[in-house]
């Protein structure tokens, strides 16, 4: 398998852990380069969920029988695994239904503490999931939204921060990594600027979490969210981390079982975090799967894995440059970026590029990537996006390049 020789990263052995990568679909292996939408999942995750389903399935927290004890232990064990992955304490981790659900939790709960005229600062490259919840909050409560513009090379333009921040700015919520351009946020600058005005900082880590463990306390931020399914875990699970004093101050969002202190008809008291925010039966199986995914990620050598990913980005960029009429949208180099690469091909619509690639067995995403404001800003119909995981290899990139050349030749 190609790629095994790069930086001593053994991509073949990683690939073997992902059952779907050895599937033959319609007579062809899969070149899966749509990891930014949803990553594939390793056997370790599938097995962890299956073990729960077949040897320890029960509801959590309230049962005294041994299946319930096993389930509770696995569920809370997953919380510990996720906490370790983020460098934080287990009780600061709230399990949600997804990354979008986590952002909505903050927008509803933390948002309810804001006052009309308070301001929230986003950027023009945010995913809809980090825009629409705030627009809904604006409708509910009269907060104002400000938007950081994006530079020509697809980065959040932090030079404009001094102008945009006001004493009324309570929260800055930005993508840690852009799901369109792959640009990595300069978190340090954002946190420093936020401190000037006393604003909290939330990072949308959906595209960062799939690339290895984090040290959130070192970042100095207040909120972090990510999605299980993009981080090699199951669907139906996401994570909110917040500083404990913030969680403590936040009112509940969903009401239901497990998030209460005591329920009477007249009034109800709340459980401490994280339970306060985990109303009803939580996504136990998906959480256990995500715990296994975090453990799996923690077991990789990310220095080598990241070097491998970025070598693939280089190969991709070099290859695209040989096709007439391709334009990269995003940072030109490998500096401060992650392996998400968007491009356009003159005269060929991104969907037609992606569809042609599919015929070569290559899975990519095309369109607005749930970032319509960004597309509007650059007057783009969309882009074709290649998003890379550690299990990708040279053959994936080469198949893609062949497909792009074919599209360029036949569709314009």
């Amino acid at each position: 398998m190609a790629g095994t020789h790069i930086m001593s990263f053994d991509v073949a052995s990683v690939r073997r852990q992902f059952p779907i990568l050895s599937e033959i679909i319609d007579g062809r292996p899969i070149h899966y380069l749509d990891n930014g939408a949803s990553a594939q999942t390793p056997l370790a995750v599938i097995d962890a969920v299956r073990t729960y389903e077949t040897t320890g399935r029960a509801n959590v927290l309230r049962g005294v029988h041994r299946l319930a004890e096993r389930a509770t232990e696995s569920y809370e064990g997953a919380r510990e695994e996720v906490a370790r992955f983020l460098g934080v304490k287990p009780m600061e981790i709230v399990f949600t239904g997804g990354c979008t659900a986590a952002i909505n939790l903050v927008a509803y709960s933390y948002g309810s503490l804001l006052k009309p005229g308070d301001r929230i600062l986003l950027s023009e490259l945010e995913h809809h999931s980090n825009i629409v919840p705030w627009q809904l909050l604006r409708q509910r409560s009269g907060v104002e939204l400000d938007m950081i513009p994006v530079t020509l090379d697809g980065r959040i333009d932090l030079d404009t921060l001094p102008k945009l921040l006001t004493p009324r700015t309570k929260l800055i919520s930005l993508a840690h990594i852009s799901n369109v351009t792959g640009a990595l946020l300069d978190v340090r600058s954002v946190v420093a600027a936020a401190e000037q005005v006393g604003a909290k900082v939330m990072l949308d880590g959906a595209q960062r979490a799939p690339h290895g463990p984090l040290d959130l306390p070192a970042l100095g931020i207040d909120f972090y969210v990510f999605a299980g399914h993009k981080a090699y875990g199951p669907n139906g699970i996401g994570v909110l981390w917040a500083k404990p004093e913030l969680l403590e101050a936040m009112p509940p969002f969903h009401g239901g079982g497990s998030m209460i202190g005591r329920v009477t008809l007249a009034e109800t008291t709340w459980a401490p975090p994280p339970r306060r925010f985990e109303a009803g039966t939580p996504p136990i199986g998906p959480a256990i799967g995500l715990g296994a995914a975090c453990k799996w990620m923690a077991g990789l050598d990310w220095t080598a894995a990241h070097a491998h990913e970025m070598a693939l980005v280089q190969r991709l960029m070099d290859g695209l440059q040989t096709v007439d009429g391709t334009h990269l949208f995003g940072p030109a180099g490998l500096q401060d970026r992650y392996p998400v690469v968007s491009f356009t091909l003159d005269g060929v619509h991104p969907h037609d590029v992606a569809q042609t690639l599919d015929a070569f067995g290559v899975a990519v995403r095309a369109g607005h990537h749930c970032a319509q404001p960004l597309m509007e800003r650059f007057d783009l119909d969309g882009t074709t996006r290649v998003s890379i995981a550690p299990y990708n290899d040279n053959s994936d990139i080469d198949a893609l390049l062949t497909g792009v050349q074919h599209a360029a030749r036949t569709l314009r």
């Binding site: 969907h351 037609d352 569809q355 015929a359 070569f360 369109g367 607005h368 036949t410 569709l411």
Partner: protein
């Protein structure tokens, strides 16, 4: 390689750009977006005294399938009214396998899209826009 989707007829239709552009004095126009993929079609029509299409033009910001469909539609729309357009939509729906029966020309060209459910809306979007304009 089996990109049977982009068969020559579809590519040719798209490149023909039949009806591409704007009308100077449209009687009606309508724009339709596909929120999932971002395709956008604007259609202008000029109607005669019997509510029949006398002239048609389309601006497509979308994929080849959408462009091809808009061109195909423009090539057969003139002289038809609302119900005439509904009739040729059946051809498109048949070509996509959403309705039983054989698709008439030029929409028979879209038969390869039958197996690509996620792209079928691209073919139908120009109809949505035109039918909005005529509604």
């Amino acid at each position: 390689m089996s990109d049977q989707l982009y068969q020559e007829r579809i590519v040719t239709l798209a490149k023909s750009k039949t009806g591409a552009g704007k009308l100077a004095t449209p009687t009606k126009s309508a724009r339709r977006d596909n929120p999932l993929c971002g395709d956008r079609v604007t259609i202008d029509v000029r109607l005669d005294g019997q509510e029949r299409i006398a002239e048609i033009a389309h601006q497509v910001r979308g994929c080849l399938l959408c462009q091809a469909s808009a061109a195909a539609l423009a090539s057969v729309a003139v002289g038809r009214d609302k119900s005439g357009i509904a009739e040729i939509r059946h051809d498109a729906e048949r070509a996509l396998g959403r309705e039983a029966g054989e698709a008439g020309e030029p929409f028979a060209a879209f038969a390869p899209v039958k197996d690509h459910k996620s792209r079928q809306e691209c073919v139908l979007l120009p109809f949505e826009a035109l039918q909005d304009a005529l509604a």
